[in-house]
């Protein structure tokens, strides 16, 4: 799948959760959304993208993907 498309999608998810005042809750929200709704190959690809620098990922999205891969 196109990585830039996945980056756009995860950044959109970040834009919803960023209004959550608690940063930890926001990151957990993004990661939880990816686990519940993204098919594993999509998650693998976004994790692989992060491993290569994760260009384009928003700050909270980056942290959520990092925690998901841990």
């Amino acid at each position: 799948m196109k990585t830039e498309h996945l980056v756009k999608m995860v950044n959109q998810i970040e834009l919803f959760f960023r209004s959550e005042p608690n940063r930890e809750t926001a990151i957990a929200g993004i990661a939880g959304h990816l686990r519940r709704y993204w098919e594993p190959r999509m998650r693998r690809e976004i994790v692989a993208h992060l491993a290569q620098g994760g260009s384009g990922l928003g700050e909270l999205a980056r942290e959520a993907v990092r925690r998901m891969s841990a």
Binding site: F16, R35, R36, W38, M42
Partner: protein, 963 residues
């Protein structure tokens, strides 16, 4: 006329807890208070003659045929307009009454043609019946009157019914039906006295007038004045079956009337719980597609889309599809195949297809077309309220004081509910419309919106937040309700967020283009005007913030306490008949039936035990993801049941490239759809008339779909899926769809008590239907929310990425029109094209003038995704800077222009916001020229199949002759 299989009780039923006891012809009778004497007598088995009265309409009291004698009263009151009273003694027959009635009938007949034997209504004519009932034996007036002769004023303009004024008795039933039932007010009585006649519009033909062809007038007519052409052609029906409409999410109950296996008329069921005896131009009339010559009724296969189709047996087609899917899974992995269904399929069919994906394919790659319409509703309402469904029944609107219509166009897209809504507005309810267009409800006959917030496309969340901001900051919130029913921490956080100045109407006005005072006044009305209900449609969901907007709607309802009782609530207007059902049935890749996540071990174990397989615990691919993966090379096989994704999904070029990359595309459909042109296996599907099952409408109402004629392919859709599963090595054993429903009930708590017997007994059931609610649940979240406490989600407005620019200065938004349905596969193959034969681009006069565009010019519409050409319609229904079109015709290529932007939570496409430029052009776009070439080639390949069929038939005949 009403169905001859129905009893017409003369006046509407009066629901009341109190009853009234009276005597009719010395028989003691007890009926609900408010019941007319006419109805009470009919119910008691003492029918009174009537002409201007029908149970579809409020009583009128004009024909004087239903006169009765009431002890202690002078004269002969009309029983239709006389309510029962305690102790009343009624006599329905006496020499005086008989004389009066014969006199009335004689006058009616004096002005009516006497050609009953050849009249289309013969066999179901109330005038004829009444003449017999009252014993009319003589007409003292000669038959030379002008109206005794078939005159030249017969109006045949409407494709579905004719109007013959010579047969009109001026009972006004049609006029009243148009006004009271439909709410269009297209009909009136022109002329005076003997010259009085019904006319449409400004004395125009029916087709040219504002008549919406709902057929209520035809149904109300007691003679052959207004009569269905199908009845004129075929004669009266000899049997009827109750079933459910296959069009929009209202889910009207219909009575299919047949002669043998020939459908001759479709009438709304008087006892239909969703429609109460009303229907629209689609449900009532547009069923001719079922027998259209374009139907493909034989299975076909081909190894490449450049090859001609080859007609094969069912066994060969199914075996080929199964072999190919298994080969793909061997070559590319278990997850390289998937399924998608349509909301035009029944519950049982969608249940089976997702089961096939999960149990036979062994993955969760299942989706449904709700992905591209109401997936955000499922997500947003689950998060905030705890259940992915609307909260009310349609009848709830009868107790609503303030109606908010947001991103929906009920009079076009949900016309029968639109009529119910208009009726409530005429009774005095206030209306707030939030829509970029001036939809009909903004200013209709006897209906006018109190406020029309004509927002810029893409700014729903900004407007919803501004409304909530006003309610919070002006102290209009129902704090007691919130404290009792909602999560306190979440509310506190949300309240802080929404009270920020940046959410105020004044701050948002630049973004939304809605004047702040208008927003403030609308917010005050919603919060303080009494029972308030929100009705929303795809104008909410089909945005990059679709799910956020749904949550913002739920927030508003909770904030004002407008949820959990009749008259209020959150009401998603589902686009297609079974959107709710297909979602309920576990069609989404992350959830089993009943919206239970695949990661939930207990639910998974339940289905593993039921289905005898091990199930995946990870979500599968959504349809859009499947298409992306197809282009990526990791997804190679797709089974599509009933959905035309090429026409309905956004960014057509992207979709077709993905389908062209598949190694096996199996399409189960009625026609060679745009999607089927890319298919390798075609499995001929069955229409809703040709199978059993159930649909679940926007109210969570499960209604019966009943087979009224055999499927021309010999297989019903559920049987095809069974055969496919068996060929994949996973046999499913059901002998009837009722057994599928039994399995659904066994495994899904909200369907626990649903059975076909119960549906038949009640007529329909609204889920949840379980031990706690054995007959169903009209209103949800009474007392507490399904999730326990209601959750206020923070709904920050995030502008869409789709921005206007100097290259693309206009915003395109898309929608639907009354006479056509979705991709038009059904309605384009009916006479409904008389009203809408092509998609048009609506453009404001200022924008048109700036571009030198005149009405009906060809215009090019270019976006960042693609470009297409259609004709322009210049109208002030759209605001300057906004253009609008529909997507009912494949050649118009509306979705060539829409982008692959989508909702952040569900990937529902952002159909409602596309930046475009519009220019005058003189020829079709390059996409259209390519589409024409491709479609012509696919039709040629289909015809080659037909040639082969004829050749085979030609060789068969001599063989038979030889024997």
């Amino acid at each position: 006329m009403l169905s001859k299989f129905d009893i017409d009780y003369g006046t509407p039923e009066r629901p009341a807890t109190a009853t009234v006891a009276l005597e009719i012809n010395d028989v003691a009778v007890s009926v609900p208070a408010g019941t007319s004497v006419l109805r009470a007598a009919q119910q008691a088995g003492h029918p009174i003659p009537k002409l201007c009265a029908t149970e579809c309409l409020e009583p009128f009291g004009s024909c004087r045929l239903c006169v009765v004698e009431i002890a202690g009263r002078k004269g002969y009151p009309a029983s239709c307009t006389t309510p029962v009273e305690p102790g009343m003694k009624v006599r329905t027959q006496s020499p005086e009454l008989a004389k009066l009635r014969r006199g009335v009938m004689e006058l009616y007949i004096s002005d009516h043609p006497l050609e009953c034997l050849t009249c289309a209504a013969n066999g179901n004519c109330q005038l004829q019946d009444m003449a017999g009932t009252v014993g009319l034996r003589e007409v003292r007036y000669d038959a030379a009157g002008a109206n005794h002769v078939r005159d030249s004023r017969k109006d045949e303009s409407n494709p579905y019914f004719s109007y013959d004024p010579s047969k009109c008795i001026v009972c006004s039933r049609c006029v009243r039906a148009c006004a009271d039932v439909q709410g269009t007010f297209a009909l009136t009585i022109d002329g005076r006295g003997f010259a009085s006649r019904i006319v449409a519009g400004q004395n125009e033909s029916f087709l040219a007038s504002e008549c919406v062809s709902c057929g209520a007038c035809v149904q109300a007519c007691p003679t052959a004045t207004l009569i269905e052409k199908s009845i004129s052609d075929a004669g009266q029906p000899d049997r009827s079956i109750i079933t459910t409409c296959a069009y929009c999410g209202v889910g009207c109950s219909l009575r299919a009337e047949l002669k043998g296996n020939q459908l001759v008329r479709m009438l709304p069921n008087q006892d239909g719980h969703a429609n109460h005896g009303h229907a629209c131009v689609k449900g009532r009339f547009a069923w001719g597609y079922a027998t259209h010559a374009d139907r493909i009724t034989k299975p076909m296969i081909r190894s490449s889309i450049t090859e001609p189709w080859r007609e094969v047996s069912w066994d060969e087609a199914i075996a080929y599809a199964a072999r190919e899917m298994r080969r793909i899974q061997r070559d590319y992995g278990r997850d390289a195949v998937g399924v998608t269904t349509s909301s035009r399929c029944t519950n049982e069919e969608t249940y089976l297809v997702q089961k096939l994906a999960r149990a036979a394919f062994g993955n969760n790659n299942t989706d449904t077309c709700a992905r591209v319409c109401h997936a955000p509703t499922g997500y947003g309402l689950k998060v905030t309220l705890g259940e992915s469904a609307g909260t009310q029944d349609f009848d709830s609107v009868d107790q609503t004081e303030v109606i908010v219509v947001l991103g929906a166009n009920p009079t076009d897209a949900h016309p029968v509910f639109g009529s119910q809504l208009k009726r409530r507005l005429r009774q005095g309810a206030r209306l707030i419309v939030i829509d970029p267009r001036s939809i009909d409800l903004v200013d209709a006959p006897h209906v006018r919106a109190a406020y029309h917030l004509q927002l810029r496309p893409g700014t729903n969340v900004a407007v919803l937040n501004a409304l909530a901001h006003v309610i919070v900051t002006e102290g209009l919130a129902n704090e007691r309700f919130v404290a009792e029913r909602c999560e306190a921490d979440a509310y506190a956080k949300w309240k802080t967020f929404i009270a920020r100045p940046e959410n105020s109407p004044e701050a948002m006005a630049d973004i939304t283009k809605v004047p702040a005072p208008l927003v403030r006044e609308a917010a005050r009305l919603y919060a303080t005007g009494g029972n308030a209900a929100i009705y929303y449609g795809l104008g909410v969901t089909e945005h990059s913030q679709g799910s956020t907007a749904v949550m913002a709607i739920a927030n508003l309802a909770m904030l004002t306490g407008n949820i959990g009782r009749p008259g209020v609530g959150v009401n998603p207007m589902r686009g297609q008949n079974n959107v709710q059902g297909s979602c309920d049935m576990g069609s989404f890749p992350e959830s089993f039936p009943g919206y239970r996540h695949v990661s939930d071990a207990a639910t998974r174990q339940l289905f593993e035990a039921e289905w005898g397989v091990t199930l995946q615990h990870e979500p599968g691919l959504r349809l859009g993801n499947m298409l992306d993966a197809a282009l990526d090379g990791s997804f190679k096989g797709l089974y599509v049941q009933g959905e035309d994704i090429v026409q309905s999904d956004p960014n057509t070029t992207h979709v077709t490239a993905a389908l062209a990359a598949l190694e096996c595309l199996v399409v189960q459909d009625l026609f060679l759809s745009e999607t089927a042109k890319y298919a390798h296996v075609f499995l001929p599907g069955s229409t809703f008339l040709e199978k059993d099952g159930t649909f679940t409408n926007a109210e969570r109402r499960i209604s019966p779909v009943r087979k009224v004629m055999p499927s021309p392919s010999g297989m019903e859709d559920w049987q095809i899926t069974l055969a496919f599963a068996a060929a994949l090595g996973y046999p499913m054993n059901y002998s009837h769809p009722s057994e599928i429903m039994a399995e659904i009930a066994r495994t899904t708590p909200t369907f626990q008590r649903v059975t076909y017997d119960q549906i038949d007994a009640q007529g329909s059931i609204q889920w949840p239907c379980n031990d706690a609610n054995p007959t169903g649940t009209p209103v949800m979240h009474v007392g507490s929310f399904v999730r326990g406490k209601g959750y206020f989600a923070i709904t920050e407005y995030v502008p869409t990425d789709e921005k206007t620019s100097s290259s693309f200065p206009l915003l395109l938004t898309t929608g639907r029109i009354l006479s056509q349905y979705n991709v038009g596969a059904q309605t384009r193959r009916t006479e409904n094209v008389a009203w809408h034969g092509e998609d048009l681009l609506e453009i404001h006069p200022h924008d048109a003038e700036n571009r030198g565009i005149r009405d009906h010019d060809w215009v090019g519409i270019a976006s960042r995704a693609g470009d297409t050409v259609m004709r322009a319609r210049i109208t002030e229904r759209v605001a300057p800077g906004v253009v609008y079109t529909t997507f009912h015709f494949p050649e118009s290529g509306a979705n060539v222009v829409t982008t692959d932007n989508s909702d952040w939570a569900t990937n529902c496409p952002e159909y409602k916001v596309t930046a475009v430029q519009v220019t005058r052009v003189s020829q079709p776009s390059s996409w259209q020229r390519n589409h024409t070439r491709f479609s012509d080639e696919q039709q040629r390949l289909l015809r080659k199949r037909e040639h082969a069929q004829r050749a085979a038939a030609a060789t068969e005949v001599p063989e038979r002759q030889r024997s």
